[in-house]
C-alpha cells in the first residue's frame, strides 16, 4: 500500500512541463545512435566505393553527428 502511494507520488510529482522536456531530450539522445550508425555506414560505403565526392559526404556525416551531440547538450542548457 505504502509503495503504491510512493509510485503515485513519483508520477504526480513530475510536472507536465518537465515530462515534456525529459521526453524531448530522450528522443534526441536516441537520435544520437542513429546519427552514429549513419556515420559508420558512410565509412563503410566510402570504403567500398571510392568516388570524388566521398570525402565531402564523410564530412557531412561527421558534421551531422557533431550537431546531433551538440543539440543534445543544448537541451540541458535551454530547457
Amino acid at each position: 500500500m505504502n509503495s503504491n502511494n510512493n509510485l503515485l507520488g513519483f508520477f504526480t510529482g513530475v510536472a507536465a512541463a518537465d515530462l515534456a522536456k525529459i521526453m524531448t531530450v530522450t528522443v534526441e539522445f536516441m537520435y544520437i545512435f542513429f546519427a552514429f550508425a549513419l556515420w559508420r555506414q558512410l565509412s563503410l560505403m566510402t570504403q567500398s566505393i571510392k568516388l570524388g565526392a566521398s570525402p565531402f559526404f564523410n564530412l557531412i556525416g561527421v558534421i551531422h553527428l557533431a550537431l546531433v551531440i551538440g543539440v543534445f547538450i543544448l537541451g540541458f542548457i535551454i530547457l
Binding site: 515534456a20 524531448t24 563503410l44 566505393i49 535551454i78 530547457l79
Partner: protein, 196 residues
C-alpha cells in the same frame, strides 16, 4: 554528372574488390524516378512544421506548460532528423551501384543501415542476359531490370531499375564479345530482334 545513374567509363571511381587491370566500363544506379517517394516525404517533413506551428499558435490549442524554448528545441530535432532521413536515403541510392568492368559484373548493395552485400561474377561465367521493362512508369522513363544468368553455382546478378536496360545489355554484350566471342555471337543471333 556526379548524380547520374548511367555513366559510361566513370572517371576517378575505384571499388574495394577491384582487381589489377580491371577497368570500369559502366556505372549504374537505380533510375532517379524510383527515388521520388522519399524526396516527397522529405519535402513534406520540411513543410509540416511551417504550416502546423503557425496554425497551432493561431488556434491557441497548445497546452500552457509547453514553453517557447521547448517548441524551438523540438523544431531543431525535427529538422535534424528530417535531414538525417533524407541523407540516409540519398546515400543508400548513391552507393547502391552496379558495375560492368572489362572482367566482371559487380552488384554492390546496401539494403539498410550497417549492411552491405556484394555480388560479382566473371564475364566468362555469363550464360544468358535478359531485361524487363514493363509498366507505364518504366516504359515512359525508360528503365527496367537486367537479369544476368551465370553458369553453375555462381550467383545470378540482377541490375534493378537501371536506366536504358537495352543499352546496358548491349554494353555487357560488347564486353562479353571481347572475352568470349563465340558464346556472345550465339546469344546475339538468338536475341537480335529484341535488342534492335
Amino acid at each position: 554528372m556526379i548524380f547520374a545513374s548511367f555513366v559510361h567509363r566513370p572517371r576517378g571511381l575505384r571499388f574495394e574488390t577491384q582487381i589489377k587491370d580491371e577497368d570500369i566500363i559502366l556505372l549504374l544506379r537505380r533510375h532517379p524516378i524510383t527515388q521520388i517517394s522519399w524526396v516527397f516525404i522529405s519535402i513534406a517533413l520540411v513543410l509540416t512544421p511551417l504550416l502546423l506551428v503557425p496554425l497551432i499558435l493561431e488556434l491557441g490549442v497548445l497546452p500552457s506548460f509547453i514553453a517557447f524554448n521547448l517548441i524551438v528545441y523540438t523544431l531543431i530535432i525535427w529538422y535534424l532528423s528530417t535531414f538525417g532521413y533524407a541523407f540516409m536515403r540519398f546515400l543508400l541510392w548513391f552507393y547502391d551501384v552496379d558495375l560492368v568492368t572489362n572482367q566482371r559484373l559487380v552488384d554492390i548493395e546496401f539494403p539498410s543501415l550497417l549492411s552491405k552485400e556484394e555480388t560479382a561474377t566473371r564475364i566468362t561465367q555469363i550464360e544468358d542476359i535478359t531485361f524487363r521493362r514493363t509498366g507505364f512508369v518504366r516504359t515512359t522513363f525508360n528503365f527496367g531490370d537486367v537479369f544476368i544468368q551465370t553458369a553453375g553455382a555462381k550467383p545470378n546478378i540482377d541490375f534493378e531499375d537501371v536506366p536504358e536496360p537495352a543499352s546496358v545489355v548491349r554494353k555487357i554484350l560488347e564486353v562479353w564479345e571481347k572475352n568470349e566471342p563465340s558464346k556472345a555471337h550465339a546469344f546475339l543471333e538468338k536475341h537480335k530482334d529484341e535488342l534492335e
